[in-house]
């Protein structure tokens, strides 16, 4: 074997990501890349774009293939050994249902979005990074579907995530989030996804939640989660690289980028309110509370990050202090609405067990016993009297984040007062859940006034009919897959498979 000296990493990266394009001669450049100008972002030199990991296409394929080989080996052995029987409890799967219904379709939309950027950015380094990310996001979609398809044989609610994503009321939260980015220009999309979502917040989705999956015996999900997150490390690094690239290209970019950071931080945060409920309430055993995860992965990490970005004149996202104040309340408020409306959902809910309530008291000493335990106790009394509580009417959704308006004015010390806001646009009233969502609405009312808000659409008869059973059929939620966990198909099967003994 001849001992040929390998090029060093910098040289390889340069050779494989530069000098691959050409200057157009039949058409002016702005016609070839028509989306590059209208957002006001000024790019002086695309060659300054660098992927900090300097990953090149050859190495990319090699490592991704290895990751998939490992992941599919774990999935196979999990399936062949009936690994699902070793979960802590079948109720854990309800968190996974929200994940596959809500997150997997986002991954697919991110795949399409990055393919779009790979075509519409004029710089070669950026095109290559976006191509890789596009393929990553498709890999995440596929590996998530493959992991969950094993569970789909045994549990309800996992059968048609893409159909559900386009129709179901609570899934309009993730749908409206990703479509907000996808209908924006290319630079706003990349700030929304690569920076606000991937860099600032995906740790909250993929790290404590996936660690929670491991804690609950779900070795299949933790493996796809961490395999996806290994790509996220690259995306996060790139997300930070992109922000710096935009800020260094031209000073006029700074206020535009700041406004996008403010908006998409808040949009991502409201989306993750669903994750807070999954983490604190739906994991049978939770290794870490939402509040703890927020302190580590947002407060501490973003604090250091924004100190780093201060030299460009970039500040912490607007309303970050509201999000931090809400950390004591978020999961309780959101799981409350999921509990009360699960008769119209593709997952089941139940009152937290005594052990879970004690854990919540310990993790939320300032709020749980004072504000939320009494409500659970009331709902438990109702259940014991045979009147399990479900809300009769449809909730009012926020016009921007589309989460039912359950949030309260925590930041001003009024945790029992709703924080909703009202705006007027062209003689109509629009309701938002918070000052942050109100600001987003009022900045682009022509966009958000067109949002498809599920409760309104249901009342107008546009969702399969006027009665709840018609709507559930239209969602393909047939056969009683939602509602109370106790006595559900999933619990009944679980008990049968375990000879009458439930897990926890």
């Amino acid at each position: 074997m001849s001992e040929k000296k390998r090029l060093n990493m910098r040289k390889r990266y340069e050779l494989l990501t530069r000098g691959l394009a050409w200057e157009p001669s039949y058409q002016p450049r702005e016609k070839v890349f028509p989306l590059e100008l209208f957002e006001g972002i000024k790019i002086v030199d695309w060659d300054k774009w660098e992927d900090p990991f300097r990953l090149t296409t050859d190495a990319y394929w090699k490592y991704q293939a290895e990751k998939d080989k490992k992941l599919y080996a774990v999935m196979d052995s999990f399936a062949q050994n009936d690994g699902f029987l070793n979960l802590t409890d079948a109720s854990y799967i309800n968190a996974l249902k929200i994940f596959v219904q809500g997150v997997t379709p986002i991954e697919y939309q991110a795949h399409r979005g990055f393919a779009h950027l790979a075509r519409n950015f004029a710089g070669e380094g950026a095109q290559i990074a976006c191509q890789m990310q596009s393929i990553d996001e498709l890999r995440h979609t596929q590996t998530q579907i493959h992991t969950v398809s094993n569970y789909n044989k045994y549990f309800t609610g996992l059968h048609e995530p893409f159909h559900m994503f386009d129709r179901v009321w609570y899934l309009s939260v993730p749908k409206s989030f990703i479509e907000d980015g996808r209908t924006a220009g290319p630079f706003e999309f990349i700030v929304s996804i690569s920076f606000a979502f991937e860099y600032l917040l995906t740790n909250l989705l993929f790290v404590p939640f996936m660690s929670g999956a491991a804690y609950n015996g779900d070795m299949s999900t933790v493996t796809f989660g961490f395999s996806a997150q290994s790509d996220e490390s690259r995306h996060m690094t790139l997300g930070l690289g992109i922000i710096k690239f935009l800020l260094e290209q031209h000073e006029d970019n700074v206020p535009i980028v700041q406004a996008w950071i403010d908006k998409h931080f808040w949009r991502s945060y409201r989306l993750l309110s669903l994750v807070s409920a999954m983490q604190d309430y739906m994991l049978v055993e939770s290794p870490m509370s939402w509040k703890e995860a927020w302190a580590i992965y947002f407060e501490e990490n973003a604090g250091a990050l924004f100190k780093d970005l201060a030299r460009y004149g970039i500040k912490m996202p607007k309303y970050h202090e509201v999000a931090t104040a809400e950390a004591d309340h978020l999961s309780h408020q959101v799981y409350g609405i999921l509990y009360a409306a699960s008769h119209a959902a593709g997952f089941q809910t139940q009152i937290p067990t005594k052990k879970k309530m004690d854990w919540l008291s310990e993790k939320y000493p300032d709020t749980f016993d004072k504000y939320y335990r009494p409500r659970w106790e009331l709902w438990r009394e109702m259940e014991e009297k045979g009147k399990r509580f479900f809300i009769g009417a449809l909730p009012l959704d926020c016009q921007v984040c589309q989460v039912p308006m359950v949030f309260t004015d925590v930041v001003n010390g009024n945790p029992m007062e709703p924080s909703y806001q009202v705006s007027e646009y062209k003689a109509d009233k629009y309701h938002t859940c918070s000052e942050a969502c109100r600001d987003i609405f009022e900045h682009e009312p022509e966009k958000y006034s067109q949002a498809m808000i599920p409760p309104q659409q249901i009342y107008q008869g546009n969702c399969g009919g006027e009665a709840i059973p018609d709507v559930l059929d239209w969602y393909h939620f047939t056969g009683g897959i939602g509602g109370e966990y106790k006595g559900s198909i999933d619990e009944t099967n679980w008990k049968k498979w375990h000879g009458g003994n439930t897990g926890s």
């Binding site: 190495a59 290895e66 804690y215 490390s233 990050l305």
Partner: protein, 91 residues
Amino acid sequence: MAEGKIFIIFQDNMDARPFIDAVETDNPEAVMQHEPGMVRFEIVGTLTLSRETVEEILGREVDLQEIHMHLISLSGNLEEDDDFIRLSWNT
């Protein structure tokens, strides 16, 4: 300069072990935490991983980009070359 807190998280499995051990060797001040399925390091300042350390542990030549197989997450500005990976904030 770099006074912010840096973290790096690896999958907790035997393939990732040489990288985990190398981070521990190269950064004696780093705090190591085990959580289900993962190992997390935290350090104030700079976190470094050198190729030499990983090669010594594994007893073979290593391409540091193999780290992509084992990483879960990281923070800070990344500087990477053939011989090292370094994470820090510019504050």
